[in-house]
């Protein structure tokens, strides 16, 4: 699956799609693939504050529960509650319908420090090499 050019990416495999101070956050195709079949997702409520690098929720697959880390600080405007009933969408459409939260960024400039699509692709290619080695 291609990594959208307009997104920025974290080393913990979250993506962020920022437009001004509004941003949508999700987990990457690489992350969903590593997790396996997702069965449950825990997301913050609107109004909750998220902090860069701190966990704001969890994704549970059949084999593990993983933290989701905030790519940048901000306030949650909306959580994708449709995922409570259809968590498997995280496996099929991680960069689209299975977005996790929409936030108002505290400092929109923070996002520019994250990896772009090319850097992230190189990063996961390296990761894949490590695991196969």
């Amino acid at each position: 699956m291609a990594y959208p050019k307009q997104f920025r990416y974290t080393k913990e495999h979250e993506w962020v799609d920022a437009k001004g101070d509004l941003a949508t956050i999700g987990i990457t195709d690489y992350a969903q693939h590593e997790l396996g079949d997702v069965v449950f997702v825990e997301l913050p409520k609107p109004g909750a504050k998220i902090e860069a690098g701190k966990s704001f929720g969890t994704v549970e697959s059949v084999k593990a529960v993983s933290e989701i880390y905030a790519p940048a600080a901000g306030e949650v405007l909306e959580a994708n509650t449709a995922l409570h009933d259809t968590p498997e969408k995280i496996n099929t459409d991680p960069h689209g319908a299975a977005w996790l939260i929409k936030v108002r960024l505290a400092n929109p400039a923070d996002v520019a420090n994250l990896m772009d699509a090319a850097a992230y692709e190189a990063y996961v290619a390296e990761k894949a090499k490590e695991t196969s080695a």
Binding site: E42, V62, K63, A64, V65
Partner: protein
């Protein structure tokens, strides 16, 4: 895997593989002030013959031939030899976690049956077999409520078992959990007014025990209603499971923490116990411990597996929902066999006998001059009486008559000196109750 001690050469080989020169270097990340530099203050080593001798001596200390009126969280009930015969079968005689479903169907099915029985008794939807005892189950229930509500204040009735409260306070001490205790009334029940006054929107859980430590039955409906209105979880602790043979299950509770010792586990040497935690299906992901689930195998047959284990300590380490749970399979099996032998009618009959005998004992004790009933709330198999003198002195007298007397409440409740918590189970005959009343009367008549 061999369970043999390692030789110095093997230790060196393992250190070499890790890349450490010595054990000292291996542990160098542990700050000096936390390191133990003295030998442990324990006796031994002993030879096999010495160990056998030691345990023979301890076994001889058992109070054979005594009649006990002591309960307070540990209850002596009738048990069938069938229970021991089944749990001692080689296939079952391990508490090891049944991770491998393909070789542990029997153990998994037994745990599944246990979970089902506990749900039926507690009026809850999901239960597991992973708690050490009632005290840790109660604490785990509070921690679960903390995770579910995101709040840090806990209201605990003072009529909850003092040791359960101690365990909770130990956990709370360094975790930022704030525990407040709620007084009891002249009836021995939790002070509902005080509880209501303390209810604010920062309360994670309200913990009430029923029958409570004084043996008095609490009425959950109103307490649960007020608790839910403030958005908190209503946690019910049950120390005497046999009471559920007669009392309506605490279905109003969000979480039930129970001690399962009454179901087929003898009160020997303080354990082992079997903790139970039961809750609502919607809270299952925040439940501590492991759950056994029913599934269908590749050939379409019914089978059992550990399920929803993704938040457990072997996967989540320090982020696990609990790091103080276990696999209580053997004790849970004993409880399952015991309850299955009793059946629904048998458990009810056992509970009725407890109630009747406790009522009879109270009426006999109240005939003794100077003995008064303390709390007037309805009770199950324990009640509190006031004696005209120290309970401990009286108990020393009773021991001479081979009677283990009631619990002196003054130790845990300074305001309740000279008050005794009397327990009467189905194991005690009418004649023994009369003998107890006679011995107590005599003890109180003796000059101090």
């Amino acid at each position: 895997m061999r369970y043999l001690p390692k030789s110095p050469a093997e230790r060196q080989e393992m250190l070499g593989a890790i890349g450490a020169k010595s054990i000292e270097e291996l542990f160098s990340s542990i700050p000096e002030r936390f390191r133990l530099r003295n030998a442990l203050n324990i006796p031994g080593p002993f030879s096999e013959a010495e160990v056998i001798q030691y345990f023979k001596e301890r076994a001889a200390e058992n109070s054979n031939g005594y009649t006990s009126f002591l309960g307070a969280g540990v209850y002596n009930h009738l048990r069938s030899v069938v229970t021991d015969a089944i749990i001692q079968r080689g296939e079952f005689l391990t508490s090891y976690t049944p991770y491998q479903a393909e070789i542990t169907q029997g153990t998994l099915q037994a745990i599944f049956e246990f979970q089902t029985l506990m749900c039926q008794l507690t009026g809850q939807e999901v239960a597991n077999a992973s708690m050490y005892d009632g005290s840790t189950a109660t604490t785990e229930a509070v921690l679960m409520a903390e995770r579910l509500t995101g709040r840090r204040r806990v209201l605990v009735a003072r009529s909850v078992h003092p040791e359960y409260r101690d365990v909770l306070k130990t956990y709370a001490k360094n975790s930022g959990l704030h525990v407040e205790e709620i007084a009891f009334t002249a009836s021995g029940t939790v002070d509902a007014k005080a509880l209501l006054a303390a209810q604010k929107d920062d309360v994670a859980a309200v913990v009430v025990q029923s029958p409570n430590f004084f043996g008095v039955i609490e009425s959950h409906a109103a307490l649960a209603g007020a608790t839910h209105a403030s958005g908190a979880m209503y946690v019910v602790a049950v120390a005497e499971g046999v009471s559920l043979g007669l009392i309506r299950p605490p279905a109003e509770a969000d979480i039930v923490a129970m001690e399962g010792q009454s179901f087929g586990l003898p009160p020997s040497y303080g354990g082992p116990f079997a903790g139970v935690i039961a809750s609502r299906d919607k809270f299952v992901r925040q439940m501590p411990g492991r759950l056994t689930g029913q599934t269908t195998d590749s050939e379409g047959q019914r089978g059992f597996v550990l399920t929803l284990a993704t938040r457990e300590q072997h996967i989540r380490r320090e982020k696990a929902t609990s790091n103080i749970c276990t696999n209580q399979a053997l004790c849970a099996l004993a409880a399952t066999v015991h309850l299955t032998l009793l059946g629904k009618e048998g458990l009810r009959e056992m509970a009725e006998q407890n109630l009747s005998k406790a009522q009879f004992a109270l009426s006999e004790l109240l005939k003794i001059p100077g003995v008064k009933r303390v709390f007037d709330g309805p009770f199950f198999n324990e009640f509190v009486v006031e004696l005209p003198r120290s309970v401990k002195l009286v108990n020393n007298q009773l021991l001479r008559d081979k009677i283990i007397g009631p619990l002196a409440l003054g130790t845990a409740y300074p305001e309740l000196t000279k008050r005794a918590l009397v327990c009467v189970t189905e194991t005690i005959s009418r004649a023994e109750i009369e003998r107890f009343a006679g011995a107590l009367k005599q003890a109180l008549e003796q000059p101090v």
